[in-house]
Symmetry: C2
Subunit: 346 residues, 2 copies
C-alpha cells in the first residue's frame, strides 16, 4: 500500500531533463518536492486522474502539458496528442470524458498556419472522441522560447459506476493485459527529429483508449482491478509503480510482449529497451484470472486491438519488484526508468 | 448580443506577442482562428469560466497559462498568481472554487529552490483560498526554453445558485463598480524587470476575489448582472467586451476611477493609460441601479475593498462603445487594447 512506502526525498540542486522523463527522477521530484508542499489525499493517490465525489457522482479531472518535439510526427501531432493523451488519463481512471480545456503557449514568430493546423488536429481528435473544447487560454512568449508551441489540456469526465480501480484492488494471480505493441510512439518521435541516421516504417500509436476501456468494463466487470496508459517511462515504469503501490511482485513473460520488428531493431541500434519507451495509445490492465480470457478476447475485438496480449501476472514476492522471464528461461529485474533516453516525447 | 456581432477574421501570417496581450489582436485570434475550428456554444460564450450543467448543478471550469516575467515581483510571484488568477476566473463567474490542477513546464537548469519556492507560493495561495491541488503534471524542456517556469492551472468550481450572470442580463442604467485602484499589477511587473530607469513604491494587487464576489451576491442578489476581472488588456478591454457582447454603451467617469499616484506617474512617463494596464486583484461588476449603493458599501466593507468605487454606468447609445467623461467635461472613446505595451504580465 502507498502509505507503507518510504517517502522519497529530493535534494538535486537543479531541475534537469531527466526530472521530466517520467521515471525515477520524476518520482523523486513529485514525492520529494511537490507532494510534501501540496499534501492532500486526492493528490497523494498520484492517479492518472483525480477523482472527487460530487453529489453522488464521481468526477474525474486530469491535466497534462504537451511539449513534444517535433510538433508533427508520423501518425500524429501535438494538437492531436494533447486531446488523446488527456482523454486516455481519464479513460484509464474508468471515466467517460465530458469535455476538455486547452491552454496554448505560443512562441512569437510561429507561422499562424502551424497554430491553425494544430488547432484543427485538436478539434478533429476531440470530435472523434465525442467531446467538446469547453474553454481555453492563449499566451504568447518571445521568439526563441517555447519551441513553437506547448499545449496544456485538462480533461473532465465522469467515472463509470462499474469502475472500482486502484492498486489496492490488485491481487496475486491477477493477469496483466496490454492492448497492442509497445514503443511505437517514442521511437517514431525520436526518428522524426532526423538527428539519427535511421529510418523505420513506423507511426505513433496515438489514439483514444476509450473503446478499450469500454470493452474491459463490459467483459471483466468487477474483475477489472487497475489500468494505466504507459506513456513516459514506458511499460516498465508503469508496472514498477503498480508493484510499489500495490505491494506486489509483477512477473512479465518477455516472449509475450508485443513489439514490432521496426521498434525492436531501432531499440537494438540505439541501446534502448522497448519496455522503457513511451506509448500513447496502449493500455495496461490488471484483471482477475477468472475473467482474463474474456477480457483479452474483448480487447482483441476492438478495432486496433488485434495484437492485444496477456504479458504476465501479479505475484506475492518479491514485493515491489518487476521481473521478466526471458525466452531462454532466465529472469531479470526491470527497474523504473533511470535517466532520460528520449526527452520531449509527449 | 454576441450572435449579432460580425465574426472577426484572422489573416496574420505569424503569431506575435500582441496576439497574447488580451486586446484586439487576441480577440481576432480567438474569434478568427480558434472559435471557427472548435465551435460549440459553451466555448463561444467566451466567458472567464465555462459553465456546464451536471445533475442539477452548474460546474464551472477555467484554465489559464501563466508566463509572467520575472517569476517574482513585489507583492507576488508566478506560483501565487497561478492560483489567484484561476480562482478569480471562477469567482467572476459566480462560482465557489472546489479545487485546482497545476501543470508545470520547467526549464532545465532551473534551481530546484526556485521551483520549491513557487510550489510553496502556490500551496500557500491555495490554502488561503481554502482549496486543494487535486492533480498536476510536470514537463522539463531544454535550457534556454520556458524562461525558467511556466505554470498552467485549471480550476473547478460550483456556480452559486444565486448567480445569474451574463452580458445579456446587462441593462441601460446599470452601474459599474470596481473593487479598487487599477494598474498596480501591470506597472509593478514592468518595473520589476529593471529595464526601465524607474522605481515606484508599488506592489501587485494579486489576491483572491472570492470575498468580493460573496459580498456582491449577498448585497445585490439578482441585481448582480455581470462580473469580470480586468487582467490583460485592463479595464478598457474588459468593458469594451461587455459593450460589444451586451450591445450597450458604457460611460465611465474619469474622476471616479481609482488610480494610485505611483501608477499614474509611471503611466505618464511611459505613455500608458492605466485603463489598459493589467490588474490581478480587481473586479468589475455591473449591478442594477437600485442595489448599486448597497453593493458598493458591501465591497468597501471587505478588507482591501476600502477604495472600491462606482466608475460609470451602462447606456443605450452608442452601442458597443466605451466612452470616458474627463475632468474637464470632455468625452473620449476608449477602444480595446491595441498593440502590446506590457508583454508577459501574467
Amino acid at each position: 500500500m502507498r502509505e507503507a512506502a518510504a517517502r522519497l526525498t529530493f535534494r538535486d540542486p537543479l531541475i534537469e531533463l531527466v526530472h521530466g522523463a517520467g521515471g525515477k527522477a520524476t518520482r523523486r521530484l513529485i514525492e520529494g518536492l511537490f507532494l510534501p508542499l501540496l499534501e492532500n489525499p486526492t493528490l497523494a493517490a498520484l492517479a492518472d486522474a483525480a477523482t472527487i465525489p460530487l453529489d453522488g457522482l464521481r468526477l474525474a479531472l486530469t491535466t497534462d502539458a504537451f511539449v513534444v518535439r517535433p510538433l508533427r510526427f508520423p501518425g500524429g501531432s501535438i494538437g492531436e496528442l494533447a486531446v488523446n493523451g488527456t482523454i486516455n488519463d481519464l479513460a484509464v481512471s474508468g471515466a467517460h470524458p465530458l469535455g476538455l480545456l486547452a491552454a496554448f503557449i505560443v512562441e512569437a514568430g510561429l507561422p499562424s498556419d502551424v497554430l491553425r493546423a494544430e488547432t484543427e488536429a485538436l478539434a478533429r481528435a476531440a470530435q472523434q472522441a465525442g467531446i467538446v473544447v469547453l474553454g481555453g487560454d492563449t499566451k504568447v512568449v518571445e521568439h526563441g522560447k517555447a519551441d513553437g508551441l506547448y499545449i496544456v489540456t485538462t480533461g473532465i469526465g465522469l467515472v463509470d459506476a462499474r469502475a472500482e480501480l486502484g492498486p489496492e484492488r490488485v491481487r496475486p494471480g491477477d493477469r496483466i493485459l496490454i492492448t497492442g505493441p509497445i514503443g511505437d510512439h517514442g521511437i517514431t518521435v525520436l526518428l522524426a527529429r532526423g538527428e539519427l541516421d535511421l529510418e523505420a516504417d513506423l507511426v505513433s500509436d496515438t489514439r483514444p483508449l476509450t473503446p478499450f476501456v469500454a470493452a474491459l468494463l463490459d467483459a471483466a466487470g468487477p474483475g477489472l482491478r487497475w489500468m494505466r496508459d504507459p506513456t513516459r517511462g514506458g511499460v516498465a515504469t508503469a508496472l514498477n509503480e503498480l508493484a510499489r503501490e500495490a505491494g506486489v511482485a509483477v512477473l512479465l513473460v518477455e516472449e509475450a510482449l508485443p513489439v514490432r520488428d521496426a521498434v525492436r531493431g531501432a531499440c537494438e541500434l540505439l541501446g534502448l529497451d522497448p519496455l522503457y519507451v513511451a506509448n500513447e495509445g496502449q493500455l495496461l490492465a490488471v484483471v482477475d484470472p477468472s475473467v482474463a480470457e474474456a477480457a483479452l478476447a474483448a480487447l482483441r475485438r476492438v478495432p486496433g486491438g488485434e495484437l492485444a496480449a496477456c504479458i504476465g501476472e501479479v505475484r506475492t514476492e518479491p514485493a515491489g519488484v518487476v521481473t521478466v522471464t526471458t525466452a531462454y528461461g532466465g529472469q531479470r529485474v526491470i527497474d523504473m526508468l533511470v535517466g532520460d533516453p528520449l526527452p520531449r516525447i509527449c
